[in-house]
C-alpha cells in the first residue's frame, strides 16, 4: 500500500522507531474515574475546531468599527454556510470553556496535579485563563450593542485595580473609551497574540502529559502499592477510538445548537445609544459580574469594586498554586478539607451564575 511505502521512505530518512514504539506501547490506566480523562482530549478537539473555524472567519471578517458588524452580517447572510461557520465558532467556544472548567475541577478532585505533575497543572490553569481571554476578546468582534457595552463594563472593572487601574483600562481600550481602536486591539489579541501564546503553553501541556503518562487517583495508586495491579488499555487504537467517540458527541451537540439555537447578531454598536436592558457578559463571567454587582460601594472604607477584583485575583493565584499548597496530596494522602473547599467553590460558582441569569 502507498501509505506503508511513504512511512518506509520517511523511516529511512528520519528514524521513526521512537514514535512507533511510543504509540505501540503507550497505555492508559483503567479505573472507576477514567471517564474524566476524556475531558482533556475533548478540550483539545474543541480548540482545534476553534482554530479551523476561526481561520475561515478571517476570510471575510473586517476589524474596523465601520465594517465589523456589516462583515459578520455578510458572513451569516450571504456567504454559503457562513451561518454554520460562525455558529460553530461561537458554540464551540462556549463548550470549550465549559469542558475546560470540568477538566480543571476533575483534575482538582482527583488530585491529578500532585507531585510530579505540578507543571501540567500550572500550564493547564494558564490555558484556562487564555481561553477566558479568547472569550472576552472574541465577544467584542461582531461589534454589536451587547458586546460593545459588555466590553465597556468588562474593561471598566480593571479600573478598580489599585494604582495601575487607569493605565490598565486605557491600555485595554486603546484609549479612554471603547472605540474602533479597542476593536482592532482585541482583534490583534484574539487572532495573533493569544493563539501564539496558547500554542506554546498547549505544546508544553501535551508534552508533559505524554512524558509522564496519566495520573491515577490516590486510592487506586494505594491499592497498586498493596499489590492490586492497575488495569491498562492500549492507547492506540482502543483509547483513541473512545476519544473519537467523545469528539463525535461534541460535534453533534455543536451542530444541533448551531441549527436550532443560532446566535443573534443584534443591533450594531452605537456609543450614543442608551445601554440596552438585560446586558450581561458570557455565562462564564456571569458569576463574577453578579458578585461585583452585589458588593456595596464601600466596605470598611475601601472601594467595594476594588475588594472584589482583589478577591478574584487572590482566587486565581490560589488556584494556580494548588499543587504547592496541597502538601497532603503530594505525600499521597487524602485531603478532605481541600475537597470541601473545592465543592463549596463549585457550588458558589454555579449558584452565582444562575443568580446572574435570573437577576438580569
Amino acid at each position: 500500500m502507498a501509505g506503508r511505502a511513504i512511512v518506509a521512505w520517511l523511516d529511512e530518512r528520519v528514524d521513526l522507531s521512537g514514535l512507533r514504539h511510543f504509540v505501540a506501547e503507550k497505555t492508559v490506566p483503567v479505573h472507576a474515574h477514567k471517564v474524566w480523562y476524556y475531558m482533556g482530549g475533548l478540550a483539545l478537539f474543541l480548540f482545534l475546531v476553534q482554530v479551523a473555524t476561526g481561520i475561515l472567519l478571517l476570510l471575510y471578517y473586517r476589524p474596523s468599527a465601520s465594517e465589523a458588524y456589516e462583515s459578520v452580517k455578510f458572513i451569516v447572510s450571504t456567504v454559503e454556510f457562513g451561518w454554520l461557520i460562525r455558529n460553530v465558532h461561537s458554540w464551540s467556544a462556549n463548550l470549550l470553556v465549559l469542558i475546560a472548567f470540568i477538566h480543571l475541577f476533575s483534575t482538582f478532585f482527583l488530585r491529578a496535579y500532585r507531585r510530579p505533575r505540578e507543571l501540567t497543572w500550572l500550564s493547564g490553569v494558564a490555558l484556562l485563563f487564555l481561553m477566558l481571554a479568547f472569550g472576552f476578546s472574541g465577544y467584542l468582534l461582531p461589534w454589536n450593542e451587547l458586546a460593545f457595552f459588555a466590553t465597556k463594563v468588562g474593561t471598566g472593572v480593571a479600573g478598580a485595580v489599585p494604582v495601575v487601574g487607569d493605565f490598565l483600562v486605557r491600555f485595554m481600550r486603546g484609549g479612554d473609551e471603547v472605540t474602533g481602536a479597542t476593536l482592532t486591539r482585541f482583534y490583534g489579541l484574539h487572532v495573533a497574540v493569544l493563539p501564539a501564546i496558547t500554542t506554546v503553553v498547549l505544546a508544553l501541556h501535551l508534552l508533559l502529559i505524554q512524558r509522564q503518562g496519566m495520573s491515577v487517583p490516590i486510592g487506586v495508586e494505594k491499592r497498586a502499592r498493596e499489590g492490586v495491579p492497575i488495569a491498562q488499555m492500549p492507547f492506540f487504537p482502543n483509547y483513541v477510538l473512545r476519544d473519537l467517540m467523545w469528539w463525535f458527541i461534541a460535534l453533534a451537540i455543536i451542530a444541533a445548537l448551531s441549527v436550532f439555537s443560532p446566535w443573534e447578531l443584534g443591533q450594531k454598536a452605537d456609543a450614543f445609544a442608551p445601554v440596552p436592558a438585560g446586558i450581561r457578559p458570557e455565562w462564564y463571567f456571569l458569576a463574577m459580574f453578579q458578585l461585583l454587582k452585589m458588593l456595596p460601594s464601600h466596605i470598611l472604607g475601601l472601594e467595594g469594586e476594588m475588594l472584589g477584583v482583589l478577591g478574584f485575583s487572590l482566587i486565581a493565584v490560589a488556584v494556580l498554586l494548588v499543587p504547592f499548597l496541597d502538601t497532603r496530596a503530594a505525600r499521597g494522602e487524602p485531603n478532605r478539607p481541600l475537597t470541601v473547599i473545592g465543592i463549596v467553590g463549585l457550588i458558589l460558582f454555579i449558584a452565582f451564575t444562575i443568580y446572574g441569569y435570573v437577576a438580569a
Binding site: L56, L59, L241
Partner: protein, 154 residues
C-alpha cells in the same frame, strides 16, 4: 488494509466493523469539507454593472490630458487628445490588470507596470499587452457652457 476475501469465503466480523468505521470517518470528513469548500468560494456580489458615468464638466478637461475615474467597480481613463477630441477606455491594462495612465509628452496611454504602450485608439503600440484596451463611447451633453462629459459602454 486486508485483502479482498476470495468469493465464497465467509466475511469476517472485523472486516465489516473496519468498513463501517472507515465509512463513518470518510462521511464525517466529507460533511466537513463540503461546507468549508462552499464557504471559501467568494459569493457573487450583487453590484449592478454600470453602463454610464459622468466623467466631469467639459471645461475641466484640457487638451492633451487624461484622467482616471471610477466606472462601476473598475477604473476608466478619459483622454482629451491634443486636437480636443475625447476618447475613453477601460483603464485596466490587458496584460496583467494594472491601471494605465496618459502620457502627455508622447500623447500615448502607458502602463507603468511593464511599459505597455497604447495609442489613442487603444491599440497596442509596444510592450507586452496582448489586446487593445476596451473602448467606451464618449458623449458631451448639456446646456452650452454647462456641458458634461459622459462615458458609456458601447
Amino acid at each position: 488494509m486486508s485483502e479482498l476475501p476470495s468469493p465464497g469465503a465467509p466475511v469476517r466480523r472485523r472486516t465489516v466493523l473496519d468498513a463501517i468505521l472507515g465509512i463513518g470517518i470518510f462521511s464525517t470528513l466529507a460533511s466537513f469539507l463540503y461546507p468549508v469548500w462552499r464557504y471559501v468560494i467568494p459569493p457573487a456580489l450583487a453590484e449592478p454593472d454600470t453602463d454610464s458615468v459622468v466623467a466631469g464638466r467639459l471645461a475641466e478637461f484640457r487638451n492633451n490630458s487624461g484622467a482616471v475615474l471610477k466606472f462601476g467597480t473598475k477604473p476608466a481613463i478619459v483622454v482629451r487628445t491634443p486636437d480636443g477630441q475625447f476618447r475613453a477606455f477601460n483603464a485596466v491594462c490587458t496584460h496583467l490588470d494594472c491601471t494605465v495612465q496618459y502620457k502627455s509628452d508622447t500623447s500615448q496611454i502607458w502602463c507603468a507596470c511593464h511599459n505597455g504602450l497604447y495609442d489613442l485608439s487603444g491599440n497596442v503600440v509596444s510592450g507586452p499587452p496582448p489586446r487593445p484596451l476596451e473602448a467606451f463611447r464618449v458623449n458631451v451633453r448639456g446646456e452650452p457652457g454647462q456641458e458634461e462629459v459622459v462615458i458609456s459602454r458601447t
